[in-house]
Subunit: 252 residues, 2 copies
DNA sequence: CGTGTTCTTGATGCCTTTCAAAAAGGGTGG
DNA sequence: CCACCCTTTTTGAAAGGCATCAAGAACACG
């Protein structure tokens, strides 16, 4: 699960013409800033689904931006139980916590095949010294991730099984939407039921039963690894989720 | 709950002689840095137990360092359910997420009477421009808080009631210990059972029953708002908690 | 010493877990 | 293209953990 796929050359995806930047999720950046980002990027790396991006306890984790694909952050208990902490979608910063704390308390795994923009962790410090505006944005992205985890914690602590599933589906749907990944209410949904269960803090069996109950209730359908949200109103009502829309975020 | 207690003057607690700094929890700082912190601090504020420090949705939250007392961060669902996200102890930065994202998705409430060092949020930006080392430390503290929430999420998602309580007690004990708040295995423990329940994602009744079961099992005792950890080994074994000790952290 | 809050305890029911096994996919080699 | 194996998903049945309801006990406060 850890062998590395061959990676393209450094400039295979120039930041200046990065297709992600055009998405509504992201703030505009000046050419100067984009050039600086380009200068920090040392590799464009491909990894297969299931690959470890950061393994638990790793001390020299690099900083990444997820260019394409999905990943997730997780934590293990000594007896093997796993909690999925949050999901990472294109444009998300990967490994900031590990970079700053210099000993990952968590692992990060590729959920699908992914492409990663690789930044050496040492340059994070340069960023703070030379590009305070971008350092501020990095901190901002860190706070945004914390905010996502807050919501997951609230979900797992307070919502029942059906509400948790509804909240997760809505929240992933909205994130995918700002990335232009949704068409006709449908988007790629690569989670296995075991991964769903680990994210929701539920057992596999109960996740499966509740999942199919919500499908039969007409909230959404799945086929060929895609999810179609049939009844967004009902789903967000069941999720008790009325969060305000987030402003465009920086893309590093 | 929101009336403000009279606050002392600006220099009532000079940063240069801040008693917190001597605690093992914190890194040493240069006199220059401490003077800079002093120059950012505009107020030393007292608030009573139960006071709102940041209310949900607030857009102009200041940045604080908790000087004394306990607080907690929480999130509400529209139907009134409350999840306590994490607890704040002396030396913790309060309101960083709210300052950066400029719209608090959460609330922060004083659990006991507290003293707060107040920093205007606008100066956070100055910090990034003029004191990159301290900006880096602020980001570091943000990541540390995220790491604490990761652990709470893992607890609520994967541990049963007894394990959750054990994990919470151990984790608060260790934090109090690095602050010099523990003597003879005992420290102030100001949480009500309702607050415990909201932090653990359990009902009040079940929290009470499990809590007293663990007391009867000899893990710990409580009296007069203090908790005494009688059997740390058993407690941390029950909690499945073997986290490595954290390095000293910056105190802003 | 009354009154409101917090804590405790018992009883009941349901949501969720666990155990078990069948069904459905997915990939590989013949 | 089909047989075969392995993983993932689904379903059923039983047990248990946790929530809810209810009310008494302990505690704090003016």
């Amino acid at each position: 699960m850890t062998e590395s796929a061959p990676s393209n050359g450094r400039n295979s995806v120039p930041c200046m013409t990065c297709p992600l930047r055009a998405k509504p999720a992201f703030k505009d950046k000046s050419d100067d800033e984009i050039r600086f980002i380009q200068s920090m990027k040392i590799e464009h790396r491909h990894r297969p689904a299931g690959a470890d991006i950061i393994h638990p306890g790793q001390e020299d984790a690099e900083l990444y931006t997820l260019f394409s694909g999905w990943a997730f952050r997780y934590q293990l208990l000594p007896d093997g139980r796993r909690q999925i902490l949050n999901f990472l979608l294109p444009g998300d910063l990967v490994g900031l916590q590990a970079s700053l704390l210099s000993a990952a308390q968590h692992g990060i795994e590729a959920l699908t095949e992914v492409e990663l923009c690789v930044f050496p962790r040492k340059r994070v410090w340069d960023l703070f010294v030379h590009m305070p505006a971008m350092a501020y944005e990095v901190a901002w992205l860190g706070s945004r991730e914390e905010s996502l985890i807050d919501q997951n914690l609230t979900s797992v602590g307070q919502r029942n099984a059906g509400e948790r599933i509804a909240a997760l589906v809505i929240s992933l749907y909205r994130r995918a939407e700002t990335l232009g990944l949704v068409s006709e209410s449908s988007f790629r949904f690569p989670l296995s039921q075991q991964q769903l269960a680990d994210a929701l803090g539920l057992s596999l069996v109960h996740t499966s039963k509740t999942w199919s109950r919500l499908r039969k209730a007409g909230l959404f359908t799945t086929s060929e690894g895609r999810l179609t949200l049939l009844n967004p109103r009902l789903t967000s009502r069941m999720a008790l989720l009325y969060e305000r829309e987030v402003a465009p975020r920086p893309l590093i």
